[in-house]
Symmetry: C2
Subunit: 190 residues, 2 copies
């Protein structure tokens, strides 16, 4: 019942056709599906089923915190998330939301969320790579999508490319090529 | 890119707060999460990670067929899906959509979709049970939700209860209790 609310957490990026902004639940499904199809680009031995599980739970805290956008949004006062790792509000949200579960489930799902945030396992690094890849894929295939609106430049995306590369060298290179080609076409400022 | 379209396939049921109708992508995420939390109600030995995978792909064909609703909808001419198992349009959709993938992925994902449809494994029966449980959970907790709109009665839901019971005896009993209590409260016609 509680997690139904993630369907009402609206992200900054849109669907690939640009028709509306995406919500956290459908985004979580999409990146879970990416894990099911992009597995050949994960380091050998990566447990892809755990990658799926990490991605299904990774945004649950946004039920309380709202979408954590990584870039400055002109005219918005809500601070965007510039630092790596969860802030105090995010940790409080995790405590409340996972705390609704019985003990064994609380421990198991919280551990998945912590693993994703900490990025110490190859599963978490690959999961995070897919999470960062998704909006680049969408904007690249939608003539720049929301990049112009939020004044995102190729330079801003360097951090995403680094994180994608840490999860998968081939996907990191792929993201860099998409960004280059978006700049070349005039869909993204350098 | 292609599966982004599932975010635009609108189901008949609403979010639990009734604010809007649910789409296929966020529904698929929600039932995947149900698999991650309801596992103790699956028969011993059920591979819950495969249940999650089955649920993430189970509605992909609706990109072509649209939502397959199981009850008659007054004033709508599109036939609702009364029979168990996929019709010819559904199979054509599966061929097209999974056919977009490279061979190895096509075989693997199509096998998951076939497994879900055929319900011959305990994983598929449990996955299908969760798929049928989700709208009952939502409507039960939303004063009957869309049941009245579509003239769904407790008798119509007997088929869902049977399918849930085949996947999980405890969840079948739970669904039956929710339906009984919805009838008792006047939120569902007998």
């Amino acid at each position: 019942m509680e997690i139904d609310k993630l369907k009402r957490v609206i992200r900054r990026n849109t669907l690939i056709d640009g028709s509306r902004r995406e919500n956290g639940a459908e985004h979580s499904w999409h990146v879970g599906m990416l894990a099911m199809t992009m597995g050949e680009h994960a380091p050998p031995g990566t447990d892809l089923e755990r990658v799926v599980a990490l991605l299904l739970v990774h945004d649950l805290v946004e039920i309380d915190t709202g979408d954590c956008f990584r870039h400055d949004v002109p005219g918005e006062t809500r601070p965007s998330l510039q630092q790596d790792g969860p802030g105090p509000d995010t940790l409080a949200a995790a405590t409340r939301i996972f705390g609704l579960l019985p003990h064994d489930q609380r421990v198991r799902l919280r551990a998945l969320w912590d693993e994703f945030e900490e990025r110490r396992t190859q599963e978490a690094r690959f999961a995070k790579a897919l999470d960062r890849l998704a909006p680049i894929l969408a904007n690249h295939h939608n003539e720049g999508g929301t990049w112009a609106l939020y004044k995102v430049t190729a330079r801003h995306l360097a951090d995403s490319v680094r994180i994608i590369h840490e999860g998968s060298a081939t996907l990191g290179a792929y993201a860099a090529r998409m960004i280059e080609s978006s700049v070349a076409r005039g869909h993204l400022a350098p």
